[in-house]
Amino acid sequence: MVPTLIVLAVLVVLVVIVVVQYNGLVRVRNLVQESWRQVDVELTRRHDLIPNLVETVKGYAAHEKSVFEEVARARSQAAGTGATPEQQAAQENELTHALGRLFAVAEGYPVLRASENFQQLQLELATTEDRIAAGRRFYNANVRDLNTRVESFPSNLIANAFHFAKAEYFEVEDPAVRQAPTVTF
């Protein structure tokens, strides 16, 4: 009788552990998906700002066609659907490079740089970039949590049994972050 009770108790504890681990994995996986949707919202906000920005610069530098075409192409690609985080990151990096060239063109037109409309667009774009950075960090934190659970013992046993997979990080080029620190000796 006693050995049977002990076996039953052990089985109950094991079932509870499995349920808790499984639910934890589900919770974190849902957090990853939800936070990716938030990133997508901010990326869409960025993509929506760009046509207005291009039109404003065109009003002063209509001859810089190659730059405008590059921005339009990069924007169109980034705004497409179905990309994985890694693919989306590559597309956003290309768009960032194209925007960099657009702003380099704008640098040559002081009247454009001084225009209220252009300054407002720059401010909105910078704020959107901050939103994306914050959303990306939150998404990556959730991915880190999920990947740690998928890889660590004993949650990896549950993850493998129920086919939980690791998620991809979303890494984009952030000029401010990647600026080389000043080193003094």
């Binding site: 938030q38 910078a126 901050d130 914050a134 939150f138």
Partner: protein, 227 residues
């Protein structure tokens, strides 16, 4: 023999009274030099916030209250005393009083709660039994601080890499602070230390100014419009 005890007790009481008076004079002198007002006691401050160190207490008071302005915002510094009253097994009343120096800076608008406290033994033990705080990309920051907040996404937006770097600097490390409502405050054990006030306010203003624009926008304020 009794008179010796009485004389010693009287001298001790006089010493305490004198030390306290000098202390109050030093605080008043600091206020005058800084353009602040030494209010004295304002117990409404003891009930203004919900988080640490304003936890459950039977008695509360806010003394040595200093009010002024810093970096374009209203600021306050005070000594917060909270007392818990209990009865021991013999029915005798036991009083346990804790004292904290609290410094607060008013924000333009209310923001979701973000609390950053030094990682202490209590927090480490809590983690062992499953109480997790919010983790960030910097392992050094995660080991130095415990972070909590009502909205994880806002917490991640507020605690960004540049702010983490600032909070890990030698003069700043170990400072507890919290954004609660329309205030950012810091607290530490002990009575008012006037030598801490300016430095702590500078840190609180730095943290306030480091909050990204989009966080303010999401809560009804545009810092760009204000400037």
């Amino acid at each position: 023999m009794l008179w010796v005890v009485l004389v010693v007790a009287a001298l001790a009481a006089a010493g305490v009274w004198y030390a306290n008076r000098k202390r109050q004079e030093a605080i008043a002198a600091w206020a005058a030099a800084a353009g602040w007002t030494f209010v004295g006691q304002d117990d409404s401050l003891a009930f203004r916030w919900a988080g640490s160190p304003f936890g459950p207490a039977d008695e509360r008071e806010a003394v040595e209250v200093l009010r002024g302005a810093y970096a374009g915002a209203d600021a306050v510094s005070f000594t917060y005393r909270s007392t818990k009253v209990s009865r021991d097994s013999d029915g005798k009343t036991q009083r346990s009083t804790t004292t904290h120096h609290v410094i607060a800076l008013t924000l333009t608008t209310a923001l979701p709660t973000v609390e950053v406290t030094p990682e202490g033994l209590g927090a480490k033990l809590a983690k062992i039994v499953g109480a997790q705080d919010i983790q960030f990309e910097s392992d050094e920051f995660n080991r130095a601080y415990r972070v909590a907040g009502g909205e994880p996404q806002t917490v991640h937006a507020v605690i960004h890499p540049r702010l983490m770097e600032r909070l890990l600097e030698p003069g700043t490390r170990g400072t507890a602070w919290r954004i609660e409502g329309n205030t950012i405050l810091s607290w530490r054990s002990g009575s008012t230390d006037i030598d801490r006030i300016t430095g702590t306010l500078a840190l609180l203003a730095t943290i306030r100014d480091a909050v990204p624009r989009h966080v303010w926008l999401d809560h009804g304020y545009d810092p760009a419009a204000a400037h």
